[in-house]
Amino acid sequence: MYADLMRKTRPLIQVAMTLLDDPTGRHWGYELSRKADVRSGVLYPMLTRFLDEGLLQDGWEDPATISGRPPRRYYELTDKGLTVLGGILQEARRDARFVGLAWRFA
């Protein structure tokens, strides 16, 4: 359902691919933007939307485990996010607009 509502853009597909590369792992803003090759001006509003729609959940690093810097915020895929973003990628595979993208996940 969400897959139909969400407008499929190249940055969305790239971010979805990066998130699904490690579906159970923690994702950090800067690393996500680097790996997905998406500018932070596009990435952060997208992450906010994913959080609002329950596709991602966020958390903060444990301050006890770090030193010399503030704790970073991480993002994790939810079950719903896994389903929805997986569905989006499945559809995008058949979309001629995204032919040039390297499909990294199975």
């Binding site: 950090w28 803003g29 800067y30 001006g41 906010t48 966020d58 503030p70 704790p71 970073r72 915020r73």
Partner: protein, 152 residues
């Protein structure tokens, strides 16, 4: 080559490098995140992310955050300000309606002479005042009167 080395060794150039790649990004980013509402987690997030960005890329990354802050943070702030203004206006209108309603119910209001002295002075200081048959009611929002029924 020698000129290049000399330029690199120059104290002014060194200061510029320290400023541009060391101090300025953190300072500017802290100014930029002020565009986000006070309780927005993105404030802390961006400051923390700065430490993950390689120093060479920091000035450009921070400049990019200005765009994000303007379009995400400022928009939130403006919409929050509009919402707050609308809510205040609505509350103001409701208070006016309630005051008008109370002014009509003069039997629920203290008589002016029944009030303690300080309260009488306050009553007379008020510009909004309703009187009817020895009863008086002033604008309750300013701490004046004083509905007998609810005791405020």
């Amino acid at each position: 080559m020698t000129e290049l080395l000399k330029a690199l060794a120059s104290p002014w150039n060194f200061l510029w490098v320290v400023l541009v790649f060391g101090l300025a990004p953190g300072f500017c980013l802290r100014l930029i995140v002020v565009a986000y509402p006070r309780n927005d987690p993105r404030r802390q997030e961006l400051i923390a992310e700065l430490y993950a960005v390689p120093r060479v890329q920091r000035p450009l990354w921070v400049a990019e955050q200005l765009e994000v802050a303007l379009f995400e943070g400022l928009v939130h702030r403006v919409s929050a300000a509009i919402r707050s203004f609308t809510a205040r206006r609505r509350a103001q209108n409701q208070t006016d309606d309630r005051d008008a309603e109370l002014a009509v119910k003069v039997d629920h209001v203290y008589r002016a002479e029944e009030l303690p002295g300080w309260m009488q002075r306050e009553v007379h200081d008020h510009d909004r005042r309703y009187e009817c048959d020895g009863h008086v009611f002033v604008d309750g929002r300013r701490g004046g009167l004083i509905c007998k029924k609810c005791g405020r």
